[in-house]
Symmetry: C2
Subunit: 215 residues, 2 copies
């Protein structure tokens, strides 16, 4: 099976998908799109994804899959080993919920296109954008830390001792935070989990600085 | 089984969950939280969900589930009939992707807490907030319309002739848009699907104006 990943090194949704592909042992062709040069708004890219957003996973028959979380669920269903979700429904709900705290409540607010809007339409410079970015990280990471620190279901990773979908989101988000020099020192459980994830090759290889299009 | 839904009539993530519960034929106790009065920031509510966000679904054993999309997947796994996702992995990826275009790319940006931030920190009044709201609706609905209108997999509803997770998100979002007087006239496929969904009791009963805490 030939897979092509249309993505961008710094995009945290792209990082998520790279981790999932690595964990599943799936090789892929890497195609980078320089978002700052609007390469994801080209006609060719919009034919792959009318939303003009990375990542897109192109399957061998030419099908284009969009939305990182939907694609990761697809990969987990079609390549069950190693599983990225627990076997029990309650556990799955917990992991999807922890993932959603990042994928729905946090990441969309701090995306490049949003920061560009704040600049262009509301005249917010670097200070305003940094304040915005930090605010939403805190709004999500404060409760995430509480939920991880107080649950007996948290293990070496977000849920037990096997990395899964929540860990994928967490790892990508911590990298994203670094763009605004936000470290995880004040979040001991998140920092501990990130440290462990960073020692796993499938995660570390997916990190932004290690991609071919990294600046 | 006694279910308690901690939610708010106007919250579109709450609307999603009400639809899913209705489709599954699950009765629930309705608890409304006036977000404008910060009832979801009370100590009692934060004990249910440290993120201070609705909806929360409380199960009979006292477990609190958070994040609407995670809860809907849980309901679909634990109460398989009628299914809210297609049986095939590719179909599931398509439906989760369409849902994600609303649940990740659109709704989080236009949430109450975000509009309040734009007002409080960036001094944006009603005009600025309306422009913002409309911009992100257009950014998501333009490609959503293209993807629905051009796919042979779109049927009476977003995917085939059975309502599912994408329809749940779409229905709730169209109600949300109405807060800013955005109608779906310029989106014929979305308008057609919404019209059909609105004729289904499980959807119509979940609409904001029909909730006990509606103003």
């Amino acid at each position: 099976m030939t897979l092509t990943l249309h993505n961008y090194f710094r995009s945290s949704t792209s990082t998520r998908l790279r981790i999932a592909l690595n964990l599943k042992g799936l090789a892929y062709d890497y195609k980078g799109y320089a978002l700052l040069e609007k390469q994801h708004k080209s006609e060719a890219f919009l034919a792959r994804n009318p939303a003009g957003l990375v990542p897109v996973l192109e399957l061998d028959d030419g099908t284009h899959l969009t939305q990182s979380m939907a694609i990761i669920e697809y990969l987990d269903e079609t390549h069950p080993e190693p599983p990225l979700l627990p076997a029990d429904a309650r556990g799955r709900a917990r992991v999807r919920s922890l993932a959603g705290m990042i994928a729905c409540d946090l990441h969309p607010l701090n995306n490049l296109r949003v920061l560009q809007y704040l600049d262009r339409e509301f005249g917010q410079g670097d200070d305003g954008k940094a304040k915005w970015f930090r605010h939403w990280v805190k709004e999500a990471f404060d409760p995430l830390e509480v939920m991880l620190a107080t649950s007996s279901q948290t293990g070496v990773f977000c849920h037990g001792d096997t990395p899964g979908i929540a860990d994928i989101c967490l790892y990508a988000q911590v990298w994203n935070n670094r763009r605004f020099k936000i470290e995880t020192d004040s979040y001991p459980t998140i920092a501990r989990i990130f440290g462990r994830l960073d020692k796993i090759d499938a995660f570390a290889r997916a990190a932004p600085p290690r991609q071919p299009d990294a600046a």
